[in-house]
Symmetry: C2
Subunit: 196 residues, 2 copies
């Protein structure tokens, strides 16, 4: 096939969840786009890299440091929600439920992948907790083996600082079905039951 | 969210088959890539647009005109396979079954979308058939309503030129199952039955 198309297909195939077929469809789509459109795409890619940095407080992504959430005076500054990745902040903000601050770890503890505490923003989290305003840390790492281990690790570090530490609830997802829930989910749902 | 990330998510969402969630995952992937990697991607997008053109003979995509297939002396120059889109050429070449030339229509007849014969490379196909070397035209448009209509339309135009016109076989796909085949597929499979 044509070299430059091959190259573009290869580039698109690198993306997570994008297979060879989808990458091919995408490359042909670029070919069919108007010149201005594909230039806008190329430009958007380069701008993300040049403009976006990490917030020096919470390590969320931002164009200005500190980020919009850390600067927002309407946020509840007494609570920090600890998440693995930037996407998690996006997901939580969408709920409109949480009004506090965030802290993005940048991953989870995962000895097999060589990810230790020093690879995460743990030190930075602990130093934020010196601020006496903060009275609760919500651990919102994923309900995976690594996420749980990271939450336990952090809770052990934070408790001695006499800050309340909580973990997001694990249980059945909305619209879920007991019959089809896996054992761990069901066990968590039972264990985490609340009184009516 | 961050403006430049929003913009990139929007750009990726334009792609066919890429939803909001995938676009978001892709944008964050770009953010995590090394600078050289995302520059290579942006470059690949621009190069496709600047280098790739359509072959003046068969309207396949190419960097040099005429394309590699039209120039290939080992190809069987007596047969032209007519397809809807460039991707179809890629798919057929992969089979290693077909050794002839191609002609890319650039779409199908579709009155509802305002696609008439003048929007496809029909005139160009007919003028290629003036070459007395060509003795078979294989109509390989998709087995959809529009593809069938386009094949019928083309066959009516080509037959008077005393060139053999064939249509690719319709029937059960390899690995398919009679029980789960739709009516049209099954009807086609029966109608197209061949003697043992």
């Amino acid at each position: 096939m044509v070299d430059s198309i091959e190259k573009l297909i290869e580039e698109f195939s690198r993306f997570p969840g994008i297979g060879k077929k989808t990458a091919q469809r995408m490359a042909f789509f670029v070919l069919k786009q108007r010149d201005e459109e594909s230039e806008a795409l190329a430009q958007a890619i380069l701008e993300v890299k040049s403009k976006v940095r990490y917030c020096s407080v919470c390590f969320n992504i931002t164009e200005d440091d500190p980020c919009a959430i850390c600067k927002d005076v309407k946020k509840d500054r007494s609570t920090i929600c600890v998440v693995e990745e930037v996407n998690d902040v996006v997901a939580l903000e969408k709920t409109n439920q949480y009004r506090g601050l965030y802290h993005v770890l940048g991953g989870v503890l995962s000895p097999l992948d060589g990810m230790g505490p020093e690879d995460l923003k743990v030190k930075e989290l602990l130093s934020r907790l010196k601020d006496k305003q903060i009275n609760e840390v919500i651990l919102a790492t994923n309900p995976s083996a690594e996420g749980e281990a990271t939450a336990i690790y952090l809770s052990k570090l934070i408790k001695p600082l006499s800050v309340k530490v909580t973990r997001i609830a694990r249980g059945l997802p909305a619209g879920g079905d007991l019959e089809y829930a896996d054992q761990t989910t069901l066990a968590n749902a039972l264990e985490g039951r609340v009184e009516f």
